[in-house]
Symmetry: C2
Subunit: 329 residues, 2 copies
């Protein structure tokens, strides 16, 4: 029995969450779901986007499924990452069948540092404008590098690439790069390399096949993972895991999409894949593979899929189809 906190949040977050939980009922696992509030709608009624109770509920769960937050997303999700020290943001870039990908053979993972860098929250107005601090610590750089190397080892990947801008940010990204190579010495069997962030943004287009596991600082990871999403057809299929030493929080990379909300037509795939990441995090790899395969089969058939995937199914019709596949596996 796993204790899972559930934050549907705003807009399509609620719809894709319902769809995902519907599919998860067919897994051979038991979950104790605890619901919690966060986001714009909750802020409207309570005056606060992320109440302390929600943080406590997540803290007391083994994992959290998070739908989406609207305008308050930055406050909700960045705060949650920092408060719970969810220092890893894991974002797979994987080509799935039935999607409009630029490349159909990609399978790499971006490991983004999730607690510091430009997200540290140290910003001040000045006479002339404003100044923000980018904080890079050895501790955070080493632990995110260690996570990336361990992840590569555990998942049978061969190479870890550090991404930085150490030609310009000589000190901060010098610390990041040095930490990466220092920790890397403990992993003699893994290949290591490093690129500048601008070059990486180009290589994603000119030779993305060279990537396996990437590790980078917070904002570079933010930008590159959205570019990665674009490479494989957009945000509709991109899940993410926010992982700390005590919990994981799993969320689609897409937002609450207010213009599409309330219609029941949102693509639930990114939320479902986020649940798959959660199952892997809980070491339920067999169930993870089953749920993933059920979804992939539905995508590949391309019949009972949502509008953005070229179909006409509603969110819940697509969920029902995925569940049917899952039950037959």
């Amino acid at each position: 029995m796993y204790k899972i906190s559930v934050i549907p949040g705003d807009g399509i977050g609620k719809e894709v969450m319902e769809a995902t939980l519907h599919v998860m009922e067919a897994l051979n696992l038991e979950f104790d779901y605890v619901y919690a509030d966060a986001g714009d709608e909750y802020e409207e009624i309570s005056g606060i986007a992320l109440p302390p109770e929600t943080i406590d509920i997540v803290r007391n769960s083994q994992a959290c499924l998070f739908g989406a937050a609207g305008e308050s997303a930055a406050d909700v999700i960045v705060k949650m990452r920092q408060e719970l020290d969810l220092y890893v943001n894991l974002r797979p870039v994987k080509s799935y069948p039935g999607t409009k990908s630029v490349f159909d053979d990609l399978d790499f993972v971006i490991v983004r540092e999730n607690t510091e860098g430009m997200y540290i929250g140290l910003e001040e107005y000045t006479e002339e404008g404003a100044v923000a601090k980018r904080v890079i610590t050895r501790r955070a750089s080493e632990r995110i590098s260690r996570f990336a190397f361990d992840y590569a080892k555990k998942t049978g990947r061969k190479k870890v690439t550090a991404v930085h801008k150490a030609n310009v940010l000589k000190k901060t990204d010098g610390v990041f790069k040095d930490s990466f190579y220092k920790v890397g010495e403990e992993y003699p069997d893994l290949e290591k390399e490093d690129f500048y962030v601008d070059a990486t943004a180009m290589y994603f287009l000119t030779k993305p096949q060279i990537f396996d596991v990437l590790v980078t600082t917070n904002l570079f990871g933010d930008i590159l993972s959205d570019e990665g999403a674009g490479l494989v057809g957009g945000l509709g299929l991109i899940p993410s895991a926010n992982i700390g030493d005590k919990q994981g929080l799993f969320e689609p990379v897409h937002g609450s999409a207010p213009r599409h909300a309330g219609k029941g037509t949102a693509n639930p795939a990114a939320m479902m894949l986020s649940a798959v990441l959660m199952l892997d995090y809980l070491e339920e790899h067999d169930e993870a593979r089953k749920m993933e395969k059920a979804l992939i089969d539905v995508l590949a058939e391309g019949k009972v899929v949502t509008g953005d995937l070229g179909g006409t199914a509603s969110t819940m019709e697509m969920a029902a189809e995925v569940r049917k596949k899952l039950e037959s596996l």
Copy 2:
């Protein structure tokens, strides 16, 4: 007679410069070239990558053609931009014939702020690691926005899009975004919009046709323009202009490519297109269009082009072919 400073620099910088000057001889214009040193090779013999004489030579010229610098690129080019207050970095993203583009119908321009942001050079080591400052001023944000709007107006473009991360960098990018809209009020005929940098990195792949002129801060511009280069086939064809109130400095976005240097096989197109940008900067639009057309014709024919473009020509053979076309226009 234009006074032009010429900095061939390192590696293939020298080769593509020679090729470009060879083509320019066929223009109906007179140039007084003054050569200057910068880069790794010069650092090796002199101990300094960017001597003050070079800065003076550029300061006393109307425009500068810059090839490439190797390891010292960050010191040379960032310093030059700041010393000469070349506050605009203009980078066209344009699909040319005969190249391996993801999209073959792109034509937008990135206007990157070139003097502050993360390039301000305020970085310190701390006990725990290091801290860098990101400085955004109203003055720089307004003048880069004004340049972008003026450029759009002058070139008949319709829309200017500001790119920022104001949901996380609320103060610094708040200043940038507010400055953009404030200056924008003076341009009622131009469409204005703004996106987050991560979303923009994705839209480059999912709907790049929506872009016309983009304006953004220094490091975001660095990353997005390399992504833009990837969209239209890589760095081989991407020129850039560094523009201030007194001078312009024109350089290919590619580097000195030490592994390809000395073979005479480098693709000179990005340097030639940088010269085209210089001609436009000098208001020699007719000559600019002629030189550009000569190059495009050679690319479209695809016969006398370098290896990266699928041909077997040397750098100088391709230059001779472009010159021949130019002479026949």
